[in-house]
């Protein structure tokens, strides 16, 4: 068992994924066909032996609540432990007061009640594998007040929009936290993941609230960094697959890059299962003319056409002669006979049946709305 309360935080107000975000929070986004993004932090926590987990919701909670259910599918004992869903006060998108600190303040009682000395906070808009028990042990051993997880990248100019970065000294002490402005390639992307004592967490929430009603957790932690800050805050480097779904392109790229089996093996390991809710779909049926390459295909599909370099969600139909290339398709989508679809993110239940060619340019994927008929 792991002596930490797990908190899955929501994407802050600076994060907005065009299209998909209109219908659900990032946590509930479909990912790689069969997952939702929230499955990753929850599986990490469950696999680390954490059985008290709080998931915070700030808007449009339906799909997320349904997906999480009782948490049994995340292997959490519902008597001993608990997967709690906790709500922000306002539940309105684009409400600048609806931030993480406000949500924690609203539920301070619930946080205080859990009988665990530590807290581990992980975001619901990032995809990575991490043993939190090991991270907690490293945190305790180091003697730091707060440990932050980061990932060193060499493409921070184009990617990781809206992420924060950590500036570190040689001893991995955090000097400052700032927004990634895309002005350097090599950056330590902050993975919005914190380890600290629960008491300190509660103090910081109260302090943030007192400082400014717009202050977030990263703001208050950032203000304690460096030589002027009063806390010992350190970074720990993460290795392995890492993706941040902070904008539309980030979402598209993370899906497409994982269609490569070798890349996927750095995220999925047999001793670290990623749990999700089953939909009881049948296996996928390929007809005489169906064919798929370099792709991830979910169950319940009927593939009669050609699929390449794509992610196909549950229950999709790709009709005869249809060609799907470089697409990320959510569940229950139909691509009609002979239709050519390329460089698209197609939201669930959409039908591409009328326009013969729905092709966006490479590097500039387009979005097809939920229930849309094109």
């Amino acid at each position: 068992m792991c002596d930490a309360l797990g908190i899955v935080s929501f994407a802050g107000n600076h994060i907005w994924v065009e299209g998909l975000h209109n219908y659900r929070p990032v946590a509930a986004f479909s990912f790689l066909g069969r997952y939702r993004i929230v499955d990753f932090p929850l599986s990490n926590m469950s696999n680390s032996g954490m059985d008290h987990i709080q998931v915070y919701l700030n808007a449009k909670p339906r799909s997320l609540i349904e997906h999480l259910g009782s948490g049994r599918h995340y292997n959490i004992n519902s008597k001993r432990g608990k997967l709690h869903m906790l709500f922000a006060g306002s539940m309105i998108d684009h409400d600048m007061y609806n931030n993480d600190i406000a949500a924690y303040m609203e539920n301070l009682e619930s946080i205080a009640l859990v009988n665990k000395p530590y807290v581990i906070i992980a975001p619901s808009y990032m995809v990575y594998k991490q043993d939190y028990k090991a991270l907690l042990n490293a945190h305790i051993e180091s003697g730091a007040d707060i440990t932050l997880l980061y990932h060193s990248v060499d493409n921070a100019k184009d990617g990781y929009v809206n992420c924060n970065i950590l500036n570190l000294n040689k001893q991995k002490g955090v000097l400052s936290i700032e927004r990634n402005r895309g002005n350097a390639k090599n950056r330590n992307i902050f993975m919005d993941t914190y380890v600290m004592k629960k008491e300190l967490f509660i103090d910081l929430i109260k302090q943030a609230k007192k400082t400014s009603s717009l202050y977030t957790l990263s703001d208050i932690v950032g203000s304690e960094c460096g030589e002027n800050g009063s806390l010992d805050i350190r970074g720990i480097s993460h290795r392995g697959y890492f993706a941040a779904v902070t904008d539309f392109k980030g979402y598209y790229n993370a899906n497409i890059e994982l269609t490569d089996y070798n890349t996927a093996t750095s995220l999925f390991e047999s001793n670290w299962p990623i749990y999700t809710r089953t939909n009881d779909s049948s296996p996928t049926h390929y007809s005489e003319d169906g064919c798929a390459k370099n792709s991830v295909v979910s169950n319940g599909c009927l593939i009669e056409g050609t699929v390449e370099n794509s992610v196909i969600g549950r229950g999709c139909t790709i009709k005869e002669g249809a060609v799907v290339k470089n697409c990320v398709i959510l569940s229950d989508v139909t691509i009609g006979t002979g239709i050519h679809a390329e460089n698209l993110v197609i939201d669930r239940n959409a039908k591409l049946t009328k326009v013969q060619e729905v092709v966006a340019n490479e590097g500039d994927p387009h979005y097809v709305k939920r229930y849309d008929v094109i």
Binding site: P273, S282, P283, G290, V296, V297, S298, L302
Partner: protein, 379 residues
Amino acid sequence: MKQNNMLAMILAGGRGSRLHELTNKVAKPAVSYGGKYRIVDFPLSNCANSGIDIVGVLTQYESVLLNSYVAAGGRWGLDARNSGVFVLPPREKADANLDVYRGTADAISQNIDFIDSYSPEYLLVLSGDHIYKMNYAKMLAYHNECNADATIAVIEVPKREASRFGIMNTDENGCIVEFEEKPEHPKSNLASMGIYIFNWKTLRKMLIADMKNAGSNHDFGKDIIPALLADNRKLVAYKFKGYWKDVGTIDSLWEANMDLLDSNNDLDLSDPTWKIYTEDTTTLPQYLGPDADVKRAYITQGCVVNGKVKNSVLFTGAKVGKGAKIIDSVLMPGVEVEEGAVVTRALVANDIKIGKSAKVGSADSEHIELVAKRVKGVE
């Protein structure tokens, strides 16, 4: 029980010895089928979808996997408050020693106390090793409409094959007048599917009498049905139309899998209104590599395909290496076919590895080859 006052008992004690190595370690109802299912998922999902809440599973032989598989009733939604799947192996009682079930009827007789504890009005008796989708609620409605004491589901079989089945001879009203087990000269082509609805009180009396009858085989077909007929009870036949298969041999198990490749097959596992529920395994999604070449195939999550797959069914976690070919074959869960290997007209058992460039099976064999041992690669 609220829903329809009918409790189901699934007979799942068969050895399935004609499935050879497949049933060495697991009972036949736990054998894998259709990419992600086990055979017993069919009667269990049918029960769940028909509004039955209490299911007893009568197990006997090599049942540790079957027992723990069905005990997790949540797979079929059968874990709500007054709902459950209960494993019922033979057991020791205050007044009787531990003994195996002596026949299908004896299996029910020995669990009269279990059934009584729910006081159902109707008892549904099912076999755990048939593949089909049936709404037992409709069968019950027919049973009540006919005011029957027992209703037996039947399916029309080709006349020439009828002598392989238990045949029901009916009058013009669909009432059963005679039951013949594998008759040499069948009078009808209505084969019993081994699916019975009984008024529990009536059956209970019959079973208690049968237990004391030293000459009885304690079998539904051979003893109970004839006894009911002799007692002038009303037995009616409920005609079923649709896919139904008893997969008793390697050939028929292979065939039942191949049936799924026909997109108009009667079983239609993708029907959202009558889903078949099964174990929820945590696997990767299905990966198709750069050299994948898939034609007429049925492939489930956890498979990784980088070779050719034609006319084949791949079960959970099956892997096909680069340049490998899977033709007219079934790869059971966890099978790994390495680079360049060729599998033709074969059924490869769970977790078997076929080494590099090895060849198994042949396109013109009479029977399907069962591959149940590791096949070494060829240098």
